[in-house]
Structure formats: C-alpha cells, structure tokens
C-alpha cells in the first residue's frame, strides 16, 4: 500500500517515513501541498495520504476538498495529522473530507492501527467500485461503466471538434442456440473466450482501470470492450475519426471469431453481426450514438448475419462503399464470380510462349470486370485472399496441365502464380501447393510461385524457411516487382530463387531515362550472375523490346504481346504458338487485328 506524506515539518516527516517503511508501506513524500496534489492526481492505485492540514502552498484542508470533489472519485484515504488538538480543528478537518484526524506527537501503535482501518476502507471502496463497473463473468466493463465512459467521450466530442470516437455494437449470432445446446456452464466459458478475442483486436487493456487509475493513463487513446448483456458487446474506439477504420476493426473481429473455439471438448464456430456508428454525425448524445450502432447491428442481422453494417450519417460514403465492396467480395466467392485470366510470358530470344502468369479477375454482376488492384488489397485485409488464392492456384495448375497434355510433343510451358503475404504467412503454403500439384497432376517443375521482394524482406526467417521447403519440393520461385523494395543482396543470394521479375516501372522508363536503363541492365546482370533468369514486366513498345533483347533479358510480358486473356483466348494463342511456331503480334492476332510488329 502506498502512503503519501504531506508535511512541511521535516522532523515529523522523517519520523513518519521511518515508521511507515518499517511497517512495509511504500512511502511517497511531499513538503508542500501543490506537489502533493500533483502526486495524488498522478499516483497509481489506491493510496493513504497523511496530510498536515496547515501545510504550506495549498493548505492541507484544500487538498482534502480537491480530492473529494474530483469527478474521478480517487481511492484515497485521507488522514489529517495536526499539531492542533482542539475539537474545532478536528471537526473542520473531517468536514473537509478527511477520513481520520491524528495529533502530534503520534503513537506508532495507534498510527499502525489507524492505517489498517484505512487499508480496509480502501479495499472495500475498490471492491464496490469494481462490482459497480464490471461484468463478473468476463471481467469486462459493464453497461454502467460503458455509459459513464460514453458520456465522457460524447462530451469531449461536443467540446473538441478534433476528437471523435467510433462504436461497434457486436452481437454474437445464434448464441442462445449454442448456449441451450451446450449448457450454461459451457456457454459461460465460451463467453469468456469471446471476450478475450475481442480484447485482442482492440487497443484495450485486459483490466480496465477504475477510479483514480484512469487519470494515470493520461490522454492517449484507450479503447474499451464492454459487455452489455448476454451476447451483446460494445467496442468503443477512442480517437477514431474515420469510420473506415471502424470497419477495419470490425473485420478484425469477424476474422478473430471465425477461428474455432474449443469448449467442453467441442469445436464451436461462431460469427457476429456488427453495427458501427461514429460521433462525427448529427448524433451528439452518447445514447444516440449507441442507438445508431444498435440499429446498424440489427440491419446486419436482417441482411443475413456474420457481417457489419454502418449507421452512416452524411459524409461517410467512403466507409459505406468499402463495406459494400467487402460484402460483394464475400458474396463473389460464394457465387463463383472470380475468373482466372492468363498472360503469356515470351522467351525474348526464341520468341515462343514459355510461361503464363495466372491473374485473378472479378466479374461483378453490376460493374463488369474488376481489375485485381481494386479488390486484392481488401481481400488480403479481410482474409478472403486465402480461399481465393487457393482457388486460383488450383485453376491455374489444372489449366497448365490441360495445355501441356494437349501439346505433349512440344516443350511444356510453366504456370506462374502470385502468392499473397497472407497466404505466405498463414496459409500452410507448402502443404497447400504440394496437395494441389498432386490433385491436378502438374509436374512441380512446371509451377513457379511469384512472391514480392517486400514480402521476403518482411520476415526473412520465415521467408527463407518456406522458400527452402518449396525448393525441396521442386517448385520454383520468382521474385516479383524486383527493384522496388530494399533487398539485401547478401540475403538474396541465400534464397532459393530462380527468377527475377523487373518491375514495370523500370521497363516503362528505359526509352527515355538512362537511369532506368541502367537499373534494368544492372538487374539483368545481377540475375544472370546469380544464376537466375530475368523477366521484364510491362513491355508495351517495340523499342522497349529491342532494348531488353539487346540487354539479353530472358523473358518478357506486357501489352505489346498480350494482356491477360480469358482461358479460351489464351488457349487459342498457345495453340498457335505450339502448332505454328513463333508468331507475330500475338495480342493483335488474339483481337483479330493486323499484327503491329514481328518477332
């Protein structure tokens, strides 16, 4: 227990400190009222303050009044220690808010007894405060605590235009059914696990501070996860001005709850409906903002559960659009709206198709064909990239196997498939790839996985391990977008990488910029010196092609040859290449146009 001594009489203070320390108290000391008040406002946890009522600066009685009138209701047990023995002085002290009154000289045994009373009182105060503010099952803040905090946040938002907060109303889907079937004891256990997962996705402390502990935490953002009742939670995102950020946290909650819960020997899968609202709109009262989130949650339930909905005041269109895109994306996976297109990669020396890069396209029922840049980042963020990537890999391997069987007399081509960071980190990639190869019958040598330079640098240890396992399984790896990251060459040398892909930004500049030309030349020389092949991306002009051929670049791809084509058109081009030999103007031909250039 901490004790703060406030006395400008050095003799008293020295003796008191000695006695308290001998009795195991953690003693803080102040010789004037102002610094004492500062310490009382900044200290951690409950505290006993022994204050001389006539302390200089801010008088001891003022300290009592300040502490007692503080809205934070700090856990401080105040003992006045005075040289004045008159009854009036004692009454004045107790009326000012002191819990006890002692006179000098004090007796050590009497003091120890009074301190024990103080400790008991503080414990009781803390216990009552916790009972009033926390849910006994999950230990999360309860509705009362949330309301208290919400009111403070709403007030802050009204008074300070720079401050906003966001609320997520989280309702666990079909929890009653789970509770009824598992029994209430298992239901309680599940509720505790859910609470833990919710806490993991926000910037919240596991134990939320009460009373004066709150002041200690200062003004930094502090999110709160509160349990309202049964299966309802509210997440308060402090200092969140952007509703889109709220959507991202909601996505993290969806992802977190998707993972199976192990309770009572059973594997339980859950989802949640989440309503999101923010303080930025017309609603300024805490209850209105909470009601907005609640309404949005009900909308999410009505629209099929396991989703988020935004209670969007004007000005939140970006967040609404994003949420719509996310919903469409989830539906697209169920409705098989993704297509794999194939872009030929040409051997710049022999002028033949040697590889295809498999690229995902989304055929949106209303918006038509959507390029990857518009949806892959979101899919990556919300975790959909894992099933999407898996489907892409399977389709690409099946297609390549089909083509190579079709032209079994020719040199087989290789299929290149991009791997996202999330697949690399979470997806048990090696197992997934080898299973797919077994399932489709494609020779591992005819599959090349493309990983980005940044991905390999982000977690070098993991990258090295996974790439080595892929290499051991006979699967080649190429380094995509090379030159845009910050690869260490010594590190690069150690990785089992077979091919470097020069980023299109360098290729685009080689006609006009000697710097770009030098970079491309250097990458090609580097790749060859390390025993790698080099592919140039984004070749669009004949001049670029000529320069790359001159620099002995091995392979190229780009609109000069062909964009990514849907499977039937890609089949046609591949067939012509394999049957007729080197072809001219692949792209032009695929479009039924006259060839614009000749290999």
């Amino acid at each position: 227990m901490r004790v703060l001594l406030v006395d400008n009489d050095d003799v008293s203070r020295v003796l008191m400190q000695h006695t308290l320390e001998r009795n195991g108290f953690d003693v803080m000391s102040a010789d004037n009222g102002n610094s004492a008040l500062e310490m009382l406002l900044a200290h951690e946890g409950p505290c006993i303050a022994i204050v001389d009522p006539a302390t200089h600066g801010s008088e001891g009685l003022d300290i009592c009044r300040e502490v007692r009138s503080s809205s934070n209701n700090p856990s401080v047990y105040m003992i006045l220690l005075s040289s004045r023995e008159a009854i009036e002085d004692m009454v004045t002290g107790l009326d000012a808010g002191a819990d006890d009154y002692l006179t000098k000289p004090w007796n050590p045994k009497e003091l120890a007894a009074r301190l024990r009373v103080g400790e008991r009182s503080l414990k009781m105060h803390d216990s009552l405060l916790r009972q009033a503010h926390f849910d006994p099952l999950t230990k999360l803040p309860n509705r009362a605590f949330l309301n208290e905090r919400l009111a403070a946040c709403a007030k802050e938002a009204r008074e300070n235009p720079g401050y906003q907060f966001t609320l997520l109303f989280v309702d666990i889907d079909r929890f009653k059914m789970i509770n009824d079937s598992l029994g209430h004891s298992a239901g309680d256990e599940l509720m505790k696990r859910i609470s833990q997962r919710l806490l993991q996705v926000v910037r919240s402390r596991k134990t939320f501070p009460v009373g004066d502990e709150r002041r200690r935490l200062g003004n930094g953002p502090s999110d709160m996860v509160a349990r309202l009742s049964g299966d309802e939670f509210v997440v308060l995102l402090d200092h969140f001005a952007d509703l889109e950020d709220g959507v991202q946290v909601a996505n993290r909650i969806h992802n977190s709850l998707e993972k199976a819960f192990q309770v009572a020997g059973q594997e339980i899968f859950l989802s949640a409906s989440i309503g999101i609202s923010t303080s930025g709109g017309s609603a300024t009262e805490a209850s209105e903002i909470l009601r907005g989130a609640d309404n949005a949650m009900y909308k999410a339930k009505l629209l099929g559960r396991a989703r988020s909905e935004v209670n969007a005041p004007t000005g939140n269109t970006a967040a609404v659009n994003r949420l719509k895109l996310e919903t469409d994306l989830r539906r697209a996976l169920e409705n098989d709206e993704f297509e794999v297109h194939y872009q030929p990669i040409i051997d710049l020396n022999g002028c033949r198709i040697t590889r295809f890069e498999a690229l995902m396209r989304w055929r949106h029922p209303e918006l038509g064909l959507i390029p990857p840049v518009s949806f892959i980042p979101l899919a990556e963020e919300i975790g959909l990239i894992l099933p999407m990537g898996s489907a892409l890999l399977r389709s690409a391997c099946q297609q390549m196997q089909r083509w190579n069987s079709q032209f079994s007399n020719s040199v087989p081509a290789t299929m290149c498939v991009n791997i996202s960071p999330r697949q690399f980190i979470e997806g048990n990639l090696v197992r997934q790839v080898t299973d797919t190869l077994t399932e489709t019958g494609l020779d591992p040598k005819l599959l090349e996985l493309e990983v980005t330079e940044n991905l390999t640098m982000k977690d070098a240890g993991l990258a090295g391990q996974v790439l080595q396992e892929l290499s051991d399984a006979g699967i080649a790896v190429s380094l995509d977008d090379f030159g845009t990251g910050y690869s260490s060459l010594s590190y690069l040398l150690r990785l089992p990488i077979g091919t470097l892909k020069i980023d299109r930004s360098f290729v685009a500049g080689i006609e006009q910029s000697s710097e770009s030309l030098s970079v491309v030349q250097t990458i090609i020389a580097l790749g060859h010196n390390l025993g790698m092949k080099v592919i140039a991306e984004g070749i669009e002009t004949e001049a670029q092609l000529s320069l790359l051929q001159m620099l002995k670049c091995d392979f190229g791809q780009g609109y000069l040859f062909s964009p990514a084509l849907e499977p039937s058109k890609a089949s046609e081009i591949f067939a012509k290449d394999r049957v007729d030999g080197p072809i001219s103007g692949i792209y032009a031909m695929s479009q039924g146009l006259p060839a614009t250039w000749v290999f």
Partner: protein, 124 residues
C-alpha cells in the same frame, strides 16, 4: 518579565516519553535531532524576519511548523510557546508576537541542549 506559570510547570523535554515512542531507537533520535537542528535554525530565522516586517501570516505558518517538530520531539514547553506565538500572530498582536518569539528562542536553546545531551549520552 513575569514567568508564565504554564511554561514554568512543564518539563522542557519529556525524554522518557520520546524514547518510548521511538521504541528506544537512539540512532533514530540522532537522525531526528540532526534534522531538527537544521530545520529549526532556518525556521527561526524566517520567524524573526517575518516578525520584523509584521508579516503575521508567515509568523503563524512558521510557528505552526515548529510546533509540529517540538511535538514530535516531546519538547513540551517549546511546543506550548510556539502555539502561543501562532495565536498571537493570528490576532495581529505585535507585542505578544515579539514577547513569545523571545521566549521561543530561549526554549529552543533549552531543547537543543537537552536533546544534544541525550544524543551524546547515547553515543557514550
């Protein structure tokens, strides 16, 4: 000057009571005495300075501070004297303040002597 009966009847320093409260810890007594000597010398100067300028508020404060120290060290007469000084200052009674301050200087000298001797006895 007529001696104050209350002051005259009291023991200057109740060493027995003090040592009981300190549970016989004579090292602690030495620490307290050293602290007291440093503090009281400065506080007395502050008192004299405030008294010369009729700064009764400061006289009250410093007298109160000394009261605490005297009480802690069982210096009964000095404590009573500083209490009277504080009260006199609260009445803005310049004459009484001057009188009690002189008595306090006297009692302080006695308190020093008794406590110092007690500490020396300990050391011996």
């Amino acid at each position: 000057m007529t001696p104050n009966l209350e002051t005259a009847d009291q023991v200057a320093v109740d060493l027995s009571e003090l040592l009981t409260r300190l549970e016989g810890d004579r090292d602690l007594l030495q620490v307290l005495y050293d602290t007291f000597a440093d503090q009281s010398e400065q506080t007395l100067k502050n008192l004299q300075f405030a008294s010369q300028r009729d700064n009764f508020l400061d006289v009250q404060r410093h007298a109160y501070t000394l009261q605490g120290a005297f009480a802690t060290l069982s210096c009964l007469r000095a404590k009573a004297c500083s209490a009277r000084l504080e009260r006199a200052a609260s009445r803005y009674d310049r004459e009484a303040v001057g009188r009690e301050l002189k008595r306090l200087e006297h009692e302080l000298g006695i308190a020093y002597a008794v406590l110092e001797r007690a500490c020396m006895e300990v050391a011996a």
